[in-house]
Symmetry: D2
Subunit: 333 residues, 4 copies
């Protein structure tokens, strides 16, 4: 895992990247879906309760995560965080390959004022996220009094390009009334944008994960029912983006799908091909034992060596791979 | 969040530290409980499927996490990973303050051969972890054939100092038969060590989190029921270690519990104390407004400024704090 | 458990009562909360998928349940099911004592057209339920085309007497569009009626419990995420009604809270009262053993006999109870 | 739903049957799996906390349920409840058709002493249940002291015919120590009987569902984690028995799978068959409208009428069905 910090918008904002480590064992993960997180704080500050803990929760589900500390305070106006957010999304798309991200599976996640910024990006951006997750978001401009500066009213901005949206909030919220959520939901529905919405009756504003470690020690910030929003949001994101693929058989490439022999194709055709077989036996005499070759045939040599044989060193593997690749490839009929 | 790598045992092993960021907002977290993770791999390798993804899952619950890449391979014997593990635990305890860890809330988490190493540390170590979580662990020495080297049989090593233990495995496991788990559970029970054990009927060896992103793309590595082990283990750890504290009121220190005035005690007594009041009004004239002072009185000035006033800069806060601390403290009667 | 059927509205409707068995062991349940269930079916029929299976689910949580087969079909108009529903609620309140129901903890549960009938009762009834649970309800009169007859538009009927409401539906519903739910939620919010609302993105109309046994065999009627609505609704109902009470100590009545001695008060004061003590020892000489009397003192004799002594027959218990009740009661000071 | 009571063993025992109502809408349920429940009570009594509430929970999942009040008390010996249990299982199998039960999907569910009786039936019976669910069961004869009479030690009785078994208990159980569960699990494993076992660390004896309504008002009888045993047991039972079937298409029989035309086969072939078509149009002229016939073609007329047309009365349906069945059937090629 790697953590990087990038300054945006002439240093006004900081984007923190949390990038999971990759491994040959994660054969079903070419690139990862990602979330870009905007913590709340009334555009006065960005709350740590809605920053790293949210990133950790999505990483635990296999997503790469980004937290944006955007411009806040009474000396700014909405154009500053808006520019921060726009630059952040553009940068993530631009660096998608370097950061191992699927550029069309980037969800934006925002809470309270951060939910406003997320919803702005999803409805007004030239470039849009692929999904939105909005926690007790500010939507209506009428909330401007308690924010650091006036903001646009976003229920009017929903358009056909707005991505699928997940909303959660509480009916009892005294800070950002639930009508914000209802109006946005209504606008999404008018434009036929798919959405999911969970409004819990009980619970005050700013619950974050609604767990003890994000509670600031206040019992009113812990709620087992509201805490369910997170796994609901992951299940929803996986419906929108698709899940990490799994298959009943091995996900090892079949030699028939490639155009060369290697240590990464199924062993079976190699063992049936006279020249490949003789190379393999040179390195792994045990393949003469039909028990071993039988149980191994559906896997690649790399996997068989890692999990079963464990007899070949990395340099032996590289040498063997090179030898196999030199064998003229003939398609099976 | 910070990531550090430390070499142990003359460079044979690497301990990766995953340390969550701290924040004034996490007022109920003085230091964090931690887990030390030993991935499996038959003492031949350490599986990435049981390393970082496990760390992420515990971090998402507020724990700091450590992954040990211990010594493996046929050129080693058990004394090497044993030394690695022993050094890792000692180092974490030693650096507990620096790494913001509660030194008596360190759980060791191991899978398969890593479960063997974890159980060895918990039963034979001079220094012991405070809890063990063992996933489909190797326990009996009879498993030695498929491991890289012979290992001690741990069901014989359970003693009175063995910490509370959480076990999970599957009845259908063909690689490490479930009798390993049963024998260890039996030994724990004989010594009256508290334990929790979940043996699922279905599922093969090495399920890790039993989710798609740790599956290597094999459907047989995904199981919604077995995936429940993780949240069961967290609930159990919180019973053993205690949860992050929450309280119905604010967790702000009361001035009565300290011996000085500051921006971190409740506002109420400050506003009632003539000299403090006049300093406060200098910085925040609005406190003359009884509405504001009433609603603020149960919070500290730092919190009130962050969440409500937002008028004081960091340097103003520091100056005000200094002024308050200079006021002679007199206990209220 | 008992099942009763009562005809209503001159035989047009049938109310089926499902009444859980009572037991001395359920000491914390004086009377039960209840649900009155209206299955859906477009006012053309009442679907069995939304009738008994729903009753069973609430009974499994300790509620008594009622299913109303109300008037349907093109030969009726709305006044018929309305009368059925009104009579049903009145009858349940009237028979609350006989049916062991808390008359102020009656929730109405309706699906689709049954959700319309439930919402009508909750907004327009002279007598109202204490909570509403509405599954993919019809609310707007515009749905009239696909119903058996025209119906009132209920978003206009929400008033201050409308009880707390739980809503669930799916965004993809093609039969009763999600706008029905949104409009009702909006109306509840306008009137400050507490509500909880879960709109899942995926899922067609009429999911019932979204489980295999209520699916009619159609895979599209099974959805693990939507299936969560039921436990969310129970958690919500328990917030609205309160849960079955539990306490850290025994719930046995203390002799101090009564005005006579009996086998149902705590043993301790009886064993300290000379006359009661001598009666007890007559029946249970073992009480002379201080171990036994110590461990028993917080329980009543009836409980101690049932779970521990097991030496007294029912007739002995009755005799002993009579003897104790004859002892003149003197309050402890 | 129907409830029946049957006396067994010359009136010593009572079997209560809880039989769910059937419906044409439950097209994927030919007959139901069932559970036979043995409440606990030390063979001194049968606890109501482990009787009807357990039956309700399984019925909520689509199972038929039976509760056996078996012979208890110091005047009996083990042969009495053993005979009760044996007769109960035999009767359920005998009446399987009448009671709409799959005779090879009968699980026995027992708690504490009832768990002993269940495990006896599963290991020693001439006729065996198809699955066992044992809650904090008595297994070892050493528990005899606290029971009403001596009992056989069942860990010795596990044989090849023992059905798959689900166990749960708590490590802290002071009444029936967890070694009972461990020894039985060990015996199952020796005989290669598939099992699932959940031993929770915390929790006292006799938790039943571990919910408030089965708690007798004692907080120690409520535990959110242990309460998970029930849904784990249902997931397990569905793995052992199979789930209620669902399919992507309709489960309506295709006319090709039958040998006659009727209102219960798919409409499409009927509308393509000249004689059937003319009969259909007689009853439903709207089928001339291709929109209607298109959307209806994958369903049977019975279903289309119920959910969509709603124009035909029951007697019209019967008449139409008769007419269709008189049309000579010719197989499609």
């Amino acid at each position: 895992m790697k953590i990087e910090k990038v300054k945006l918008n002439d240093g006004k904002a900081v984007l923190t990247s949390y990038l999971l480590g990759e491994s040959l064992e994660f054969v079903n993960i070419d690139a990862r879906p990602a979330v870009l997180i905007f913590p709340g704080g009334g555009y006065h500050f960005t709350s740590d309760r809605e920053a790293e803990p949210i990133a950790m929760s999505f990483m635990a589900e296999g997503f790469n995560a980004f937290v944006l500390h955007y411009s806040v305070g009474k000396n700014e106006d909405f154009s500053s965080p808006w520019k921060d957010a726009t630059e952040a999304l553009a940068l993530i798309r631009k660096k998608a390959v370097e950061w191992n991200i699927e550029s069309n599976k980037i969800g934006v996640v925002g809470f309270s004022a951060g939910g406003h910024l997320a919803a702005a990006l999803g409805t007004m951006g030239n470039e849009r996220p692929n999904a939105m997750i909005l926690g007790y978001p500010c939507i209506l401009s009428s909330i401007g009094d308690v924010l650091a500066f006036p903001v646009p009213s976003l229920e009017k901005e929903v358009d056909e390009l707005t991505p699928p949206t997940f909303l959660f909030s509480t009916c009892e919220d005294q800070v950002v009334p639930v009508e914000h959520t209802i109006h946005f939901m209504h606008a999404l529905n008018e434009k036929k944008i798919p959405f999911e919405s969970h409004i819990f009756q009980a619970g005050n504003h700013g619950l974050s994960l609604a767990k003890s470690h994000t509670s600031s020690g206040m019992a009113s910030n812990v709620d087992d029912d509201v805490a369910g929003w997170f796994s609901l949001s992951v299940a929803w994101l996986k419906k929108v983006f698709g899940d990490f693929p799994v298959s009943d058989g091995s996900m090892m490439p079949d030699v028939n799908d490639t155009s060369e022999y290697s240590i990464d194709v199924k062993l079976e055709p190699l063992l049936e091909h006279p020249e490949c077989r003789s190379i393999l036996l040179e390195y792994v005499p045990a393949f003469n034992d039909s028990d071993i070759s039988d149980s191994a045939k559906d896997f690649s040599l790399r996997i068989v060596n890692r999990y079963y044989l464990r007899s070949l060193s990395e340099s032996q593997l590289i040498g063997l791979d090179k030898r196999l690749k030199e064998v003229p490839y003939n398609e099976r009929e």
